[in-house]
Symmetry: C2
Subunit: 477 residues, 2 copies
Amino acid sequence: MAEQKKLVAEITSMDEDFTQWYTDVVVKAGLVAYSHIKGFLVYKPAGYALWEAVQNLLDARFKKTGVENVYMPLLIPENLMAKEGDLVNGFAPEVAWVTAGGSEPLQERLCVRPTSETVFSDFFRTDVQSYRDLPKVYNQWCSVVRWEKETRPFLRSREFMWQEGHTVHASEEEAKARTQQMLNVYADFCAEDLAIPVVKGRKTDKEKFAGATATYTIEALMHDGRALQSGTSHDFGTKFAEAYGIQFTDRDNKLKFAAQTSWGLSTRIIGALIMVHGDNSGLVLPPRIAPTQIMIVPIQQKKAGVLDKAYEIRDMLKDFRVKVDDTDKSPGFKFADQEMRGIPVRIEIGPRDMANGKCIIARRDNHEKTECDIASLPEKMAELLPQIQKDMYDRAAKHLEDHTYSAATKEEFVRLFTEKSGFVKAMWCGDQACEDKIKEDLGVTSRCMPFQQETISDVCVCCGKPAKKMVYWGRAY
Amino acid sequence: MAEQKKLVAEITSMDEDFTQWYTDVVVKAGLVAYSHIKGFLVYKPAGYALWEAVQNLLDARFKKTGVENVYMPLLIPENLMAKEGDLVNGFAPEVAWVTAGGSEPLQERLCVRPTSETVFSDFFRTDVQSYRDLPKVYNQWCSVVRWEKETRPFLRSREFMWQEGHTVHASEEEAKARTQQMLNVYADFCAEDLAIPVVKGRKTDKEKFAGATATYTIEALMHDGRALQSGTSHDFGTKFAEAYGIQFTDRDNKLKFAAQTSWGLSTRIIGALIMVHGDNSGLVLPPRIAPTQIMIVPIQQKKAGVLDKAYEIRDMLKDFRVKVDDTDKSPGFKFADQEMRGIPVRIEIGPRDMANGKCIIARRDNHEKTECDIASLPEKMAELLPQIQKDMYDRAAKHLEDHTYSAATKEEFVRLFTEKSGFVKAMWCGDQACEDKIKEDLGVTSRCMPFQQETISDVCVCCGKPAKKMVYWGRAY
């Protein structure tokens, strides 16, 4: 127990200092290490395995909707980047520039991709000729670079991994439908695989993606009541097509500009996993995304038959992602280490239990311990893992509900953001000036105009003019 | 048939101009498109699907040997790159340099990774403390940049995708064993999944990787008789550990330098797939790697029931990767297009066959067409696909055997490289001067010193001094 205490004691309590708790978990759970360059992370096996799990689950969902994976160049010529004015203005301050190849200076600077609308559009310009070539529903898994000033593991990095989907369509209606389809894919993925409930909606013009006609978003609420934008889907209409010359001959034999979308979800989502489910013992992983779902810990493992029994149980559970911790560490250390890493279920097996054909099952999410017949472990696990997944979702959904408030008046709005942390639903007139003022006064931004609109009052919570939209407001990562 | 001819006519015959044939296949099979930057490719869906298949199959083989995936930063500080002298000298002429982040010039140049020994070593320096931390068997899937002068799709690009494995061990013996284990993984992957036989051996000092104490290689023979280095595995001994300070406390409580390896296989392997198996109708894919194994082509698809029957057959064959080509192109066009793309098996189904419960099966590899009962298609395919895989391997193995020659004398060596194309086995004294002379005179390089040594003669084929090793020589991509 001394060892266990020591290990656990190294994490700051989340109630004491949430920011430090987060950093502690990220490092102590072995997810990442820092490199010599600010904002460039080393993904260690436990961290990369989470990203691999995200990739596998999300990619399967993509492919069901007809997505094809491709890969575009890492570097983008400056003049290509500059063709769509809003995009280049949005990204120019934060791109990394390659100016030499080998010992030769380059004739034209190349930027390391911060996002790939430009190269996809340039490719579509020649690849799309006729309505018969449409739609193209492409995606790439890659890393991108944005020279951020402030960085935090997963949440804001100079290099981060993501997927970026890019599609071309014959009509704006079809493009719009695709953006919403992909937003739903993200929301379902978060809810079903990550046990994270999200609010779906549209970004205001101030908060939308540079170059988009509309940006849709899923917003999640972290344990500390701050919001995290967890995935976005952009409708470009024909804006990029006009800038890059993507035209096709339609069925009516007329030359038309194509409509486009893009949508992305990044390693940020790992930050959401940590901050939605984690506790003071470390990470808590939902079973569906957990690289290891069950860890078997032999007790008094040097006693005859204990390790063999542990391996036998592992082999009984081969339908799950299961491992035996047969290192020479103490059980107490193993317990604490596996809790830190968020493994959903621990099975303890020692000489006494073995003699009775029993073992102990410990749930990571609620720390519940129960005894179980070894023989019935496979059925028990087939029930327990989905139950944990559901309980984790329900807990997160309750947290979201409990921390979503409504404000009809400015006083109420200010009071809520002073006394509480979470989302506040309030009406908005549609003017950016009110968003700017709210941000300046309270450090709060409009997270989204939810698809499910409600009427909290008739007037803007900021200026008192007639309201146009109900908005989720929050302090965001 | 006019359409089919037209499509096929667009490929140059491989006997006429192999280089042009290769470029034609790469483009017409829809694998890649060129971007605005020389040597940076767009991987289209068919090209990326091949790389995804390589990743899935190879990654599964890696994980069976205990490999864990990680991810290291894309950019490397110049001073970190420079710590190991041989490596930096080997790569300095061909790296791309980032000199500005956003609008600010950087204080230190960062290179886009050409390979990641330096960042892995720097990470291991702090991550490895004790023999209990060893071995670490890590791998990353990523893209790298090398500013090559001459570029060709897949074979030599400025950006290419690969995996790079990096391991640390407590002893040099264990590191050496890991390099050979991974070389065998590559060779088995090539033979079993890609139907490509390879020669395994060790590189000469002239041809080894910058910074390695030994480089092992697998060498494949292309259809035109040229060699392609298809995967390499490097033993570093303690060289990088000494340069980067990777030390650990061993069981005997002494501080020791760790031993390291690295091993890589890249998108080059797609070039090998094309040039080993392709023919004058285009790409020919072995079934195990083919993203689509079976394509069903409905004949007279507008007639009642034809398309439904095609979908019914697809559903019967759901254990395979199967699709129906239900586009409005003509059957002739579809046949030619699918041959170009190398799909292993085509099933033709039309009204006449349907009435008899029959269909036509066409093999891509040998153009054989047979009739088959629709009801027995699942069993037929379960036999046929492995048969095609085997036949393709056997054909490639025969080609390798038929184009591997032996030269006991210099005259014979020169005659073979003048009249024939392929590997020539010949003895070597061990001096780089002879390698240099052979390269200068004949454009031929030492491909490897094969593990299976033979004695062709007692003296070096170049200088006549006593021979030390039998070497495979060849003209290489």
